[in-house]
Symmetry: D2
Subunit: 384 residues, 4 copies
Amino acid sequence: MSKKKVNVGLIGYQFMGKAHSNAYRQVGHFFDLPVDVVMHTICGRNEQAVTKAAQQFGWQNVETDWRKVIENPEIDVIDVSTPGNTHAEIAIAAAKAGKAVFCEKPIGNTLEEAEAMLKAVQEAGVPHAVFHNYRKAPAVALAKRMIAEGKLGTIYHFRATYLQDWIADPNFPLVWRLQKEVAGSGTHGDINAHIIDLGRHLVGELDEVCGLLHTFIKQRPLAGAINDKLGAEATDQMGEVTVDDAAMFLAKFKNGALGTFEASRFAVGRKNYNRFEINGSKGSVVFNLERMNELEYYNNDDPEGEHGFRLIQATDASHPYAGQFWPVAHIIGYGETFINLLADAFTNMANGTRIEPDFVDGYENQRVLDAVERSSETRSWVSL
Amino acid sequence: MSKKKVNVGLIGYQFMGKAHSNAYRQVGHFFDLPVDVVMHTICGRNEQAVTKAAQQFGWQNVETDWRKVIENPEIDVIDVSTPGNTHAEIAIAAAKAGKAVFCEKPIGNTLEEAEAMLKAVQEAGVPHAVFHNYRKAPAVALAKRMIAEGKLGTIYHFRATYLQDWIADPNFPLVWRLQKEVAGSGTHGDINAHIIDLGRHLVGELDEVCGLLHTFIKQRPLAGAINDKLGAEATDQMGEVTVDDAAMFLAKFKNGALGTFEASRFAVGRKNYNRFEINGSKGSVVFNLERMNELEYYNNDDPEGEHGFRLIQATDASHPYAGQFWPVAHIIGYGETFINLLADAFTNMANGTRIEPDFVDGYENQRVLDAVERSSETRSWVSL
Amino acid sequence: MSKKKVNVGLIGYQFMGKAHSNAYRQVGHFFDLPVDVVMHTICGRNEQAVTKAAQQFGWQNVETDWRKVIENPEIDVIDVSTPGNTHAEIAIAAAKAGKAVFCEKPIGNTLEEAEAMLKAVQEAGVPHAVFHNYRKAPAVALAKRMIAEGKLGTIYHFRATYLQDWIADPNFPLVWRLQKEVAGSGTHGDINAHIIDLGRHLVGELDEVCGLLHTFIKQRPLAGAINDKLGAEATDQMGEVTVDDAAMFLAKFKNGALGTFEASRFAVGRKNYNRFEINGSKGSVVFNLERMNELEYYNNDDPEGEHGFRLIQATDASHPYAGQFWPVAHIIGYGETFINLLADAFTNMANGTRIEPDFVDGYENQRVLDAVERSSETRSWVSL
Amino acid sequence: MSKKKVNVGLIGYQFMGKAHSNAYRQVGHFFDLPVDVVMHTICGRNEQAVTKAAQQFGWQNVETDWRKVIENPEIDVIDVSTPGNTHAEIAIAAAKAGKAVFCEKPIGNTLEEAEAMLKAVQEAGVPHAVFHNYRKAPAVALAKRMIAEGKLGTIYHFRATYLQDWIADPNFPLVWRLQKEVAGSGTHGDINAHIIDLGRHLVGELDEVCGLLHTFIKQRPLAGAINDKLGAEATDQMGEVTVDDAAMFLAKFKNGALGTFEASRFAVGRKNYNRFEINGSKGSVVFNLERMNELEYYNNDDPEGEHGFRLIQATDASHPYAGQFWPVAHIIGYGETFINLLADAFTNMANGTRIEPDFVDGYENQRVLDAVERSSETRSWVSL
């Protein structure tokens, strides 16, 4: 009668730790899952901070050494939400310990890391997932369903931008996200990775790419004390920015569609402008994360004189995920995208079916990231 | 082979004079009319100013006495574009002289004037038109067509606002439009009249109304020298505002629909926000003059999961009037609404069919304006 | 060191029960509250259903008799989320038992009930709150702050609509919300109540009103088995609709502003269109619940040529409540409005300060609802 | 007292002929020009059709041989509005005959043609203009002014798309615009040329580009009888499409800004979606031709908590060109962009100052078009 428990250990407790914790806490209250999700242990190096996080986020236990979490036989799932340079080591160890591994994106800082991680989970035969959460917004899932049903016909264009502006100020300090050895890359791995995932998810695999990574501000003040936003105080000393500020590329998909991708942290006024438009022979869709409950849809088969982009409020019981939450047009938020992702992941795990997106997706994403970087270096097209 | 000429005499040369002149000049170039429209004579009291207007607008002759225009046997149409307090006298004289009469709205300053004007044109058997030009925006005409075709089903709601802000500043001077003896009323007759016409045109006749006319700023500086915007310089002396700043009312239509109407010159930030929404049992439409090439349309019969307001760009050859101008989505502007109105008017005149809107519409409009004013005074519902 | 516990008993477990439960569960994870909120007991008459709700929503205990919840000495707060005809009895009993009372809106089905309820909580000296949750959307709270700071200057207009369409189909059955003896009123008490609260909150008390309540469909099929949406299956027998389908009124506020309010369940295509616009001498704001993370703002003091309505994404740390959740432009949803309301309520309770909105607000709201009903009956203006 | 006459000869009478004619007819009625513009002669090979066009558009004389128009000593300005493969010959001949030359874009079908044309007008010392009319939309001119005033600071990004869908149907026939020998190129020269011009105009010269031209549908039915839309009837025989269906490229501007450009005729649902966004260190602007009276503007210096994109209605007397037409928020349309261009052109001609845009702009535009084509062929970056 009572469900099987699944104990989760979360490594990391910053922004993603907060978002993931919320999802573990909520998922069983909105979805009728086959298992009971237990927030077993949260792990971070700073004991005081992680203890506070455990209280705030609702975790039962605290740990400061991630290896102990992995070794704990009670724990079933390891969630890797640390900075990118530690993903591979933790995820591979977790896989070897026989744990399911749920990892933040991009899964590694390099293609080699991603490949090793994928190999590790496949060899261990453990479930694996990657947090490309935007797939799970109801409006995006609706777009996916419509494309799968053929409602857009042959896809001609995928056009995506992910625009932010939080480092447009040259005096913004050199936080870890601007250092290649920690973050792997800048805008490219952080937010281009998201629209690459959406492109792969909705249109298919890429065939070749040609891109440009660019750094507008090459020196910044070194970071001092951490503050409560995304960063830290600026100090008097300067250091070198080693990641890209903007990343853009042209692409051909294997199915013949064309793609444009552009990510920037220098688009002043744009905060979280993850927008894509897909044009097919039968219709088009447009999504914008800042209005994530809406999907614009153009149906080329509408009667003459009545054509137009429709503003679908993807909050209806007929839309993916939406019926689990509130009545139509009572919107959900960013946090719910993680809830939906976990609902799928725990269901797939219990059923023994593939989780989507998983490390295969994480690896393929990294192949694209890597190809674009090489293209930017060689100033030419790169095949995938 | 050559077409019959129709000679027009325009009385008035301010804002409406400019808009009407543009339409007379352009109508034959965009529509294949049964007649040749000739811009024969423009008339104004200030000879120098009207001479300049004639040159600027393209009129062949100038006159300073409107009676002479009416007496001129060459002239076929008298266009009355003067302030409201002179409409009745000019229009009635023109009708008696056997001229077609095209009059700005509202046709009179009082219901009595409107009734006398209607009687005059009917007794004279002359063609008559009133410049409710917004009916002739392609998007509005499309809404009308869709309603006529039953696409909205039974109409439940008409909800209209016409919002401006040009007198929200208490120091804006007491121009003629704020004086009852010249303008007849304020916001009510000026812009409420427009949305009343749209309501009548699109939904049908009103049955009863309950409204409120209100003046926020009861004293203003007297107007000095006329300036080039809507008004004049402020002087040191104060005078009493004798018209309404805002006018709003509830309504029942004879067909059972409910209506709300609100007009204001105190809606800071709104410049020309003439917006209506119509909700019927099968669908809804929304129009906003500031985006006058668009019509939002909701079709309740769309498939489940695909409902949404569509943004129809009413610029397609399949839409009313639009095919006369540019290719789809190459928009037209305010000026073209008058062109469309004149195209209809000259065509109806030539065919001997009723022009729409005409003095019957002008009179019915005034009946509503009058009923709302009485309702505001008696603080109760008034039947029409 | 550990915080004081506050034990909550929730009466009711339908839509509002779900929304309130989510908020009790989440509030301590996003806000640093002075107390620990404990989800002690949920109560409903159907034991099986309420037991399932307890599991789904996270309540510790189940009860089928609301009197037992009130008598339970462990419980500190009674949350009244039942249909309107039972509010007064439960809330008054709870107050007499010395419990804090948090009640859904409108607090009673009649003005007499509301008055008795207010009297009860005041005489008992217990904390009281009413769930006008839309006040707590960050964008609305931002509008409130801007008005309080004088950024809109003198308020001239409040213009609100709350539009839905879920009973536009004449075959939709006669559910309890369409029966006066249970629901008190229809659209008026259900959703007009919300925009009345926003008007009072943002602009001030109303002075007089003139309105119309209307029922488009006077007979509907009787309701059969309850289904999972808002209602029930239609049967073959017909019954009389005893509440309004639409409710609209004009208003004068005590501070001289004018108001228009319109609520309907027959606005086909509108799902949860709770929209208001406020025009003041220095600027304007616009809010739409369907895009609840946004506030449009027009600043009349912007430089010439640069005026325009700004789309403020009210998701920044500088905006009310928003900093508790996600980074800027990572939006929140409907559920969070209740979290914010409870965060305020528990903080005020702990501090011994007034909760806003409380039963005074609930009572004043009901006075307006009542005045509009009387106005609709007498077909004239009614003073408050 | 009377102004000098400028006699115009227009070569071509299709879509552009209509748009240019309207502008010649109207320009003197909205602008106080230093000259009188006379619509002297219209020229086309089909005598019947051009005679009809002359009547419809308001030209005084008709000619079937363009050389006779150029030889006519009365004519001062030659307007070249024919298909691209005839521009060079006509324009060069006109320049040699000492006429001012106003030419449609792109000025030639190849870079060589453009260069020869520029050389011809420069050697002849005649005034020259190219119809990049979108520069002259008030909203675009406002963006230009704001950038010139430094309001956007250092420009980081220019992001432009020009999307249409009129050939997305594979059965659309092989009209002249799809044949390289007549049209020069497809989407690239037709609409990419427009956003290249806007990029150059607003941000500055390009430094290097990397692009892709692509043809989705490589065979189409041969075109039969010309119809009244953009094309012709489809026949049973197939022919090869020799131009691009879509053209996209990445760019670096000489001032360090990054650019993305994408043009397509396969973006189903997009009719005339010429949209750009410019992000600078101090702010951003967004323009969309389908709402060409609006400019979105984000000011990074707005007070904390009040940031947001403003919807400027660029229809105010303070905005470029707008004051010549109607009061604020009474919008203008596509046709008026040509009027504004001619107003500038005739004024510059009379003053002896440079017309903008002129053949230098046309030539620089073609250099970019050419570089992108070469980049597409060589699959690498090309410097300008």
